[in-house]
């Protein structure tokens, strides 16, 4: 057995805190009288953001991955956590979005004064924190079984969020989501069992050194990737996502769409580039890309036909996730010295980040529109612009990113993917990106057109929306736009700490 | 030593016989309650003889003690389960006499 050679680095303890801090908060809320749920959450949220920024700073400062070996037990026997440039980026993204969502949800999930405890606040805040810990573990974990536990943590946090309001459709959506997630987990675990049987390790670095092409490895990786695809809602395994994401409360939908489905994609990325024997399987990469293309085209068309705003946004999530899966053939065919120096890789990561920001903003905006109007039927949105003007503006700005229009993060991401696709002569991918952009423009403008229209006679807003909530939504949309000013080239930061074969 | 082994063989053999009887009864008897009767016999006598046979082979006192506890627990479980299943059958009959 070749020791992978992890060593705890200077700021390593930060990684432990990033994983454990939300858990501490969750337990505190559960135990310490739930009237304090929100207050405890508002201590943990900035704390977690600070930790995530500190980890990113440490990665940038040292130019190497930050590592922590738990209990001093060297992998593969023990477990190590490691933050490289990519995972640090995603951790900061997660912290930012969760803080924004926390601010947005402030007040909506607080305990009514006449009750000692209420269901919704307690459940919402504990699950949010559980989710955070799960995401951080997914981004930091280096051991495939540890990552399995992290994925389960994610599932158990996300599923109850879907049926928070207890309506029948949401319970149904949650059950379906749970069953899909469980199938995904079992497939993942099957693959892990085969890998352990073949190599006696589940440590990624150890596998990278040993893995070679044989039936066990191929079947194992195939099973794991299919399982993760079900969790990431890639076509045709996407059926659970729209009802689940549309049924959850807006704050929860934002997190589910922006972050939760990205975690399994991140793991596919890691399996593909960090575990699988290199060079990867060309056919499998093409298949993933084709499923991505189907997701983009098929689900964009369905989104266009939705009656309700939240369902439209949810279908748009499936479509936008499709773009992520275009990365595999683009990176493999690229002539860059390593995967993370290719433009396709950077484009993919940027798509992930900008979609997260834009989609969070969109779901929150939809939530505010629904609160103000009392419904979210697209055909009946007239007057939304007078009721919640800032939210409608934020929706439009976030829409830029989905369409891939400048200036926006989505524009740069899609341009990079497009460049990579033309360079490598993947013409179908080029076509899919262009068609996807047009379809996204159609569904975004359909909503905007309605929302900007003059209100009907007798129109009145149902609820007054505090300004800060609208500003949070706008803030997220603006950050998605600001990403559009990054230079059109591979970022060095995303390559920090990434080792691997050339 | 040989004597002990012979005792074990005899007792375990007897236990097997009662398990055989129980299984045959479970499979062959015509109605639920008589099948239940056969099953209880297997649990009581079959398990009892096997434990009796294994007792002299146990390496230490704790293991022997555990064997006895296992036997007692099986007795208790068999008695209760028998009663409960019989009650269950009775209820079922009352509700649906045709069955």
């Amino acid at each position: 057995m070749m020791p992978a050679g992890y060593a705890t680095s200077e700021g390593g303890a930060l990684l432990v805190i990033a994983v454990m801090l939300p858990i501490v908060g969750m337990i505190a809320i559960f135990a310490l009288g739930l009237r304090r749920a929100e207050r405890i959450a508002f201590i943990i949220l900035p704390g977690g953001l600070f930790i995530a920024l500190a980890i990113a700073a440490e990665v940038a400062r040292t130019g190497a991955a930050v590592t922590y070996v738990l209990g001093g037990w060297q992998p593969p026997l023990g477990i190590a956590l490691q933050a490289d440039g990519l995972s640090a980026t995603l951790m900061v993204l997660t912290a930012l979005i969760l803080c924004a969502v926390g601010l947005f949800a402030r007040g909506t999930f607080s305990t009514p004064p006449d009750m000692s405890e209420a269901r919704r606040p307690m459940v919402f805040w504990t699950l949010m924190l559980g989710l955070w810990s799960a995401l951080n573990t997914v981004f930091l974990g280096q051991d495939l079984f540890n990552l399995f536990v992290a994925l389960e943590l994610l599932t158990f946090s996300a599923v109850p969020l879907v049926c928070l309001d207890g309506r029948r459709e949401t319970v149904q959506a949650a059950l379906r989501y749970l069953l899909f997630a469980l199938i995904g987990s079992v497939f993942y675990l099957l693959g892990a069992a085969l890998l352990y049987g073949a190599y006696g390790t589940l440590d990624m670095a150890g596998l990278r050194l040993q893995a070679h092409y044989n039936p066990a490895t191929s079947v194992a990786l195939g099973l794991m990737i299919v399982g993760l695809m079900a969790k990431a809602a890639l076509f045709p395994l996407h059926l659970w996502l729209p009802p689940a994401h549309a049924g959850a409360p807006a704050a929860a939908s934002a997190v589910l769409s922006a972050l939760v489905v990205k975690a399994p994609f991140f793991l596919i990325l890691r399996l593909w580039f960090d575990v699988a024997p290199q060079p990867g399987n060309q056919l499998a990469a093409q298949m993933l890309a084709w499923l991505g293309i189907f997701s983009i085209v098929f689900c964009s068309i369905i989104a266009l036909r939705q009656v309700r705003l939240k369902l439209m946004i949810a279908y748009s999530t499936v479509a936008q996730i499709g773009y992520l899966f275009l990365v595999f053939p683009l990176v493999m065919a690229s002539d860059a010295p390593s995967a993370w120096q290719s433009i396709g890789w950077t484009g993919g990561v940027l798509q992930l980040v900008s979609h997260a920001l834009a989609k969070a903003s969109m779901f929150l905006a939809a939530g505010l529109i629904a609160e103000a109007l009392g419904h979210d039927r697209i055909d009946n949105l007239n007057g939304a612009v007078t009721a919640v003007p800032i939210s409608v503006a934020a929706f439009g700005l976030a829409g830029l990113s989905l369409m891939g229009l400048p200036p926006s993060g989505g524009f740069v991401a899609k341009l990079m993917l497009l460049t990579a696709a033309t360079e490598t002569a993947n013409w179908w991918i080029v076509a899919a990106i262009l068609v996807g952009g047009i379809l996204a423009a159609s569904y975004v403008f359909r909503v905007l057109g309605r929302a900007m229209a003059a209100p009907k006679i007798g129109f009145k807003t149902l609820a007054h929306i505090p300004l800060y909530r609208e500003l949070v939504v706008l803030g997220l949309a603006i950050s998605a736009v600001v990403l559009g000013f990054v230079p059109l080239q591979p970022f060095a930061f995303l390559g920090i700490g990434r080792v691997g074969l050339p | 030593m040989i004597l002990v082994d012979m005792f074990t063989m005899a007792a375990v053999g007897a236990g097997m016989f009662f398990f055989l009887a129980g299984t045959v009864g479970l499979l062959r008897f015509p109605d639920t309650l008589s099948r239940l009767h056969a099953l209880t016999k297997a649990d009581n006598l079959g398990f009892g003889f096997i434990v009796l046979g294994l007792l002299p082979q146990s390496p230490d006192v704790l293991s022997g003690l555990k064997l006895v506890v296992v036997w007692l627990l099986v007795q208790l479980a068999a008695a209760t389960a028998g009663q409960l299943i019989a009650q269950f059958v009775g209820l079922e009959r009352r509700r649906d006499p045709a069955a």
């Binding site: 477990i79 810990s133 | 208790l76 008695a79």
Partner: protein
């Protein structure tokens, strides 16, 4: 030794599994599943995994069976609607499943040489900790993070189940687990068995440090005893707002976290133990975890609150 008994056991397991999937009545399917669980615990004995066999016996024979049978009891009987799946559908699914099974089988019949294992590494580091059961060492030392996160999963599952409480019942007690008809035999069992069961549960936890057994097995046995008492109507499930209940639920994770963070001061970092105190620390953590597991499993079976708080 001949392989025939093993083949027979495998045949029995697969037969019971096929029947479980094929049978029409859902309660029959649950009984089939319980039988599969019982047989699997024997399979684990043959795989030399006594710790897992204990877990399977406690969960398969006890907790999961009870959970599913209770669900059957509470689901309304529905008239048989013959939604026979389209033949093409089941043939296709059958083919797909056969292909997957054949693939897995092809891989497992070709063992790698030398066998892939971490046993030597696990053995080499055991001396430091002074524990005799390698599985406990893996669970609470080498891979303590997994175990800690898994306990958080359990807490989250409980919160998830509680989420399904209708608004007006929040804080109240779960539906009673009372049996259909009160029965003297059941009451007697519920009075005699729990003292023995508690001793066995504690024994499994304590013994787990050096011999097969451990927190989860012991905790499940304790939970089973509690559930038995509730089924015999000697106790009602507690209200979910009770402070003591909440504290018992988090006791295990909190003690584990405290032990983990204490590692920063008394040892080399998170979740590491000073060699001299490793065993007592691990035993204390195990005891706390077992108690929490017992309470969580019991409440998971009991389900969401179904009565308004008093």
């Amino acid at each position: 030794m001949t392989l025939l008994p093993d083949l027979a056991l495998v045949l029995l397991i697969l037969t019971a599994a096929v029947w479980t999937v094929a049978v029409r009545d859902r309660r029959d399917a649950v009984i089939g599943f319980i039988v599969v669980g019982l047989l699997l615990s024997l399979a684990w004995v043959r795989l030399n995994a006594v710790d897992v066999a204990l877990t399977e016996a406690a969960i398969g024979g006890g907790a999961t069976g009870l959970l599913l049978l209770r669900a059957c009891a509470r689901l309304v009987p529905r008239p048989a609607e013959s939604v026979l799946p389209h033949p093409a559908m089941w043939i296709l699914t059958g083919l797909l499943c056969s292909v997957i099974a054949a693939g897995l089988a092809a891989i497992v019949v070709m063992p790698v040489e030398p066998p892939a294992t971490l046993a030597p590494e696990a053995a080499a580091n055991m001396g430091e900790l002074g524990l005799g059961n390698p599985v406990t060492v893996v669970l609470l030392a080498y891979r303590a993070l997994d175990t800690l996160l898994e306990k958080v999963v359990l807490v989250l599952a409980l919160i998830g189940v509680w989420t399904l409480t209708p608004e007006q019942f929040w804080g109240g007690a779960p539906a009673s687990l009372r049996a259909q008809q009160s029965s003297g035999a059941l009451r007697l069992l519920a009075q005699v068995l729990p003292p023995v069961g508690v001793v066995i549960g504690v024994y499994l936890v304590w013994n787990g440090a050096d011999h097969p057994g451990g927190t989860f097995q012991g905790g499940t046995v304790l939970a089973a005893m509690w559930l038995l008492v509730m089924m015999a109507d000697l106790r009602e499930p507690p209200e979910i707002r009770l402070h003591t209940l909440r504290l018992l639920v988090i006791l295990g994770p909190v003690v584990f976290l405290v032990a983990g963070f204490a590692g920063f001061w008394i040892a080399n970092g998170f979740l590491s133990y000073p060699p001299a105190f490793a065993k007592p620390i691990i035993v204390i953590v195990e005891a706390a975890l077992a108690l929490s597991i017992a309470v969580i499993l019991g409440m998971l079976v009991a389900g969401p609150a179904a009565r308004a708080p008093r």
